[in-house]
């Protein structure tokens, strides 16, 4: 145990301690890199003396441009307010009329809609999505005809009933 305590297993380079102070002092004297306080920007001579004058000139130039527009502006505002009041009155009047329904849409508008929006579909494709089986001939007619009118028409326009080849249930 005694032998073990007396032996230091670590070594230092030769003459390490002799040169230590010198190396430390050298490191301390090395300058830290500081961020410069001066950025190097300069301005033209007497620049700041003329700042107010330059701004004043620009403001005056802008003012003279704006003056001629003022009288027109008043008319614009008057015209705009009259138009706004008229619009509001019209809107209130329109609100009293009934709501727009499908019946109010012109047929041409519907046709145009389909022409513009369904152009990529063939009639067969459209037929697939429209339930044709459930439709009656009357769905396509604007006026429904009662039986008396139909019989009168046939009376006047056909010579013989037989020609119609009607089938009787009898």
């Amino acid at each position: 145990m005694k032998e073990l305590n007396n032996k230091n297993p670590f070594k230092t380079p030769e003459a390490y301690f002799e040169g230590f102070s010198e190396r430390l002092m050298k490191k301390l004297s090395e300058k830290e890199i500081d961020i410069p306080n001066n950025e190097g920007f300069i301005v033209p001579n007497s620049y700041f003396e003329g700042v107010h004058k330059n701004i004043r000139q620009r403001l005056d130039a802008e003012d003279t441009k704006v003056i001629p527009l003022h009288p027109f502006k008043k008319y614009y505002f008057a015209a705009a307010s009259i138009a706004a009041v008229t619009l509001v009155i019209l809107m209130f009047n329109q609100n009293t009329s009934k709501e727009i329904t499908f019946e109010d849409i012109a047929n041409t508008d519907i046709e145009n809609y389909f022409e513009d929006n369904w152009s990529d579909f063939s009639p067969y494709e459209i037929a697939e999505v429209v339930p044709v089986d459930e439709l009656e001939i009357r769905d396509f007619m604007s006026n429904t005809l009662n039986d008396d009118i139909i019989l009168n028409y046939l009376d006047n326009n056909t010579d013989e009933f037989e020609e119609l080849n009607l089938e009787y249930d009898e």
Binding site: I33, P36, F41, V51, E62
Partner: protein
């Protein structure tokens, strides 16, 4: 120096506006100029933006409610004007903000109103690499020597956030300046 409240009152009355505006410009022109110059780098651009800033102040002073201090309101306008100027420049040139910064730094070498040496040019490069917020905070704290409370009012950010931004900015700039030196 004229009290801010009195100056605002004078600016909001047509009879006293002209004279008060002159006082306003003389009081703030240098501070606002350097704030803008550090964002746009070039003198002519800084002059344009400074004039636009004061014109905006002149036109909007009637609507100034005094919810913030006058100088922080003007700093905010100056910051927005300068950043908008850079963005519209980038749009005109059809380049990104990074490329615009590179061009601005490239132009700095030939700028007659830049007398910086190699280390000052490197400093500008280091600042240019910072995110926008850190850049603003660093310039306002380090060069313009504004207090955190003042910067907080101008940039509408918490003091804690500003301190963190400034700390990060300083670390990044120091690291960049140490590279290859």
């Amino acid at each position: 120096m004229i009290a801010e409240d009195t100056l605002v009152q004078d600016l909001q009355h047509p009879e006293t506006l002209s004279q008060a505006f002159e006082v306003l410009v003389d009081t703030y022109k240098q501070r606002l100029y350097w704030h803008i110059r550090r964002i746009v780098l070039n003198h002519d651009d800084a002059d344009d933006v400074l004039q636009n800033t004061f014109i905006k102040v002149y036109k909007n002073i009637k609507g100034f409610k005094g919810e913030s201090k006058l100088y922080s309101w003007m700093y905010r306008i100056a910051t927005n004007e300068a950043l908008t100027f850079l963005k519209s420049n980038a749009r005109k040139l059809e380049i990104g903000s990074g490329e615009l910064q590179d061009r601005m730094l490239g132009n700095l070498k030939a700028d007659v109103y830049f007398e910086g040496d190699a280390i000052q040019l490197k400093l500008q490069k280091a600042i240019a690499k910072l995110p926008e917020k850190q850049k603003l905070v660093f310039n306002m704290k380090y060069f313009e020597e504004l207090k955190y409370t003042e910067i907080s009012e101008i940039l509408e950010t918490s003091v804690g956030g500003l301190k963190a931004s400034y700390h990060l900015a300083v670390k990044k700039i120091e690291a960049y300046l140490k590279e290859d030196t």
